[in-house]
């Protein structure tokens, strides 16, 4: 048998049927749904008069448009309320488990799957949200789908897909101080561009990736989609098993031991061929920040914003105009109005700990609005148990309730027109955080540093002062 990549192994195992010169019928192990991309799919089932085929493999939560304060009160915005109520009704009617507002497991769909142990190695996982790629950190095939596909999965537990090509991204070496997993992935996207991975599924590997915690790995896989890839995965190892072991829905006892044995086999064969390969060195990576309106427009924090030249002119010029930034200049020292720490990219307990450690005993700049939105109720609870809330609040950061929040500005948490927001989320598209909002993507450390100084800063300077 020829050598296979991990992606091929998992994919091939899930193919139910192949259509000639067409897609394959791929069996889905776990289906996550939320309030925004599911209502039309449920309506589709109703029109056909069919049930959810495997409700026990479907998990719902409310995250995209929920308010991040006073979650115990009815949602003020009528349209959002209607969407959330529709989800509740649909889940009742179709027998789907819902971790809705008020439930101790509620949170951003890509945060709760892993922390509950629903996300496991070797699975196929889909959700009507492109950052489903996050789950790939556990060594599975996880990707975002559209609502018609959500309906397909509800109706048949399968989705029709063309098999993507494989792309290997290897990162080796030791990370520089002040550099975290968000910087790794922003660095890679800056090099490969926002479309560099289109048509591919990524496997991240190498000594740097192996050294990362599960939460840091999730940040990397989360942003696979920002280079156009369908998803990204990392082969499971002891770090993965250790993380999963105590989680509520992880297998227990004898079953656990059997599963771990199975999972240990989940790796690419040594000579497996990828369609495309890239190598990066950890030493080359600086704290990163974006200056433009797609995640590929990023630079090391001390570098200059690129100058538009003939080739890139249209995109870059348009972006810089929207951002009101100038090519050839540094971003360091640029004024900042908002700092958002949250989203399925960076809203886990380790992110909050990192921020708390940096801001402990300090104060944010007066003019900066600093918002921290935990990824889930469990993250929030843990943060409070560790006293992080006190540290953050003393530094002037507001700790809110879980949800997608300012990542996409569907609720009240928006950045006003023309304001600059250093954000730990994943997209800096025009208007993403609010109409006319200007988003600069960065790591939780770089975002916290911006909040403290009120301007774009090199977190290494701050860390130096401490050392």
């Amino acid at each position: 048998m020829s050598a296979k990549t991990l992606f091929d192994k998992i994919w091939d195992k899930h193919v139910v049927h192949s259509v000639e010169d067409g897609p394959q019928v791929l069996y889905i192990d776990r289906h996550f749904i939320h309030e925004v991309t599911s209502p039309q799919a449920f309506s589709g089932l109703k029109e056909r008069g069919i049930p959810v085929f495997r409700p026990e493999q479907t998990i719902a939560t409310a995250d995209h448009n929920v308010p991040t304060e006073n979650q115990h009160l009815p949602i003020k915005d009528a349209l959002s309320r209607h969407q959330v109520e529709t989800l509740i009704k649909n889940c009742e009617e179709f027998g789907v488990e819902l971790y809705g507002l008020g439930h101790p497991y509620q949170g951003i769909v890509h945060v709760i799957g892993p922390e509950l142990g629903i996300t496991q190695p070797g699975m196929t996982i889909v959700c009507g949200d492109s950052h489903t790629s996050t789950h790939g950190a556990f060594g599975n095939i996880a990707f975002g789908i559209g609502t018609s596909e959500v309906e397909q999965v509800m109706a048949t537990q399968c989705v029709l897909q063309k098999k993507p090509k494989t792309l290997k991204i290897q990162v080796d070496g030791k990370l520089n101080p002040g550099v975290v997993s968000k910087d790794i992935v922003l660095h890679i996207i800056a090099k490969l561009t926002a479309a560099g991975g289109t048509g591919h599924f990524i496997e991240f590997c190498g000594s740097t990736i192996e050294s990362l915690s599960m939460e840091a790995r999730m940040t990397i896989c989360n942003m696979s989609i920002e280079m156009g890839a369908r998803g990204g995965l990392i082969a499971p190892d002891e770090t993965t098993f250790e993380y999963l072991k105590s989680k509520p829905f992880a297998p227990k006892g004898e079953k656990w031991n059997k599963k771990v044995e199975e999972w240990k086999a989940l790796k690419s064969d040594p000579n497996a061929q990828f369609d495309l390969e890239y190598h990066f060195k950890a030493e080359d990576i600086e704290p990163m920040i974006t200056y433009g309106t797609n995640p590929g427009m990023g630079i090391g924090i001390t570098k200059d914003i690129p100058l538009p030249n003939g080739k890139t002119a249209s995109g870059l010029e348009k972006s810089l105009k929207y951002m009101d930034l100038e090519g050839g200049k540094q971003l360091l020292g640029h004024h900042v109005d908002y700092v958002f720490i949250g989203s399925c990219t960076n809203s886990r307990i380790e992110d909050l700990r990192l921020v708390a450690e940096l801001v402990k005993g300090k104060k944010k700049a007066d003019h900066v609005h600093a918002m921290i939105v935990p990824g889930s109720r469990q993250v929030e609870k843990q943060a409070r148990a560790e006293g992080l809330d006190k540290i953050l609040e003393a530094a002037g950061f507001e700790l809110r309730q879980p949800g997608c929040s300012a990542c996409l500005g569907m609720n009240e948490d928006k950045v006003p027109k023309g304001k600059y927001c250093v954000s730990t989320s994943n997209r800096n598209f025009e208007g993403r955080q609010g109409q006319g909002a200007r988003t600069l993507l960065a790591s939780p450390l770089t975002a916290a540093a911006a909040a403290l100084s009120g301007k774009i800063s090199d977190v290494r300077e701050l860390m130096k002062v401490e050392a």
Binding site: V16, H17, V19, E20, D21, G22, P23, V25, Y27, V36, T37, P39, Q40, S43, G44, I50, N65, D77, L79, S80, H82, T86, G128, D129, S130, T132, G144, I145, G146, T147, S148, E149, E151, Q152, T156, Q157, C158, L160, Q161, K162, P164, A194, A195, T198, G199, G228, R230, N294, S314, G315, L408, G409, M410, R427, F429, E430, G431, R432, Q435, G436
Partner: protein, 195 residues
Amino acid sequence: MEKFNTLNSQAVLLPFEDVDTDQIIPARFLKSVSREGFDENLFRDWRYLEDGSPDPEFVLNQEANKGDVLVAGRNFGCGSSREHAAWALVDYGFKAVVSSFFADIFKNNALNNGLLPVQVTDDFLAQVFEILKKKPEAKLQIDLQNQEISLVGFSLTENFEINSYKKYCLQNGFDDIDFLLNKKNEIEAYEQSLA
């Protein structure tokens, strides 16, 4: 889903690269629970001025630029998986989008809604932009059967790719769920093979 055969239409030009789903339909308009009514907010933030009036600079607000085909720069539809982007384009009346590169999820979403993504070469796209800028009344012809796109009256023709399954679906207004529902027995057999 409507059947797709041959399309002969003027085009609307959007000569920008990386047009993302947040531009096609901003998140704040995703609160509906039905598939209709998204056309009003298609390209919302480019289409309207701050006071809510149409921006005369934007192509959808210009009389000369009407048609069922949208021609856009490379990497169209990147970003979110929201199918609302495809719904908004279909709702507005577009039947095909021409670009030199499409984001994966968008392509699937478009096809699932009878909107044909026509991927052409960068060269072809550049020529279409150039000619249509001067002659907006010229028509694009998209022939699905022969997988051919041409600019009528100009010797500019190219073939495009589409897999035969999707082509069949489009031509017959057939959708994936019908197909999958017919495969129920196989799916159940697969599940049993795992147990």
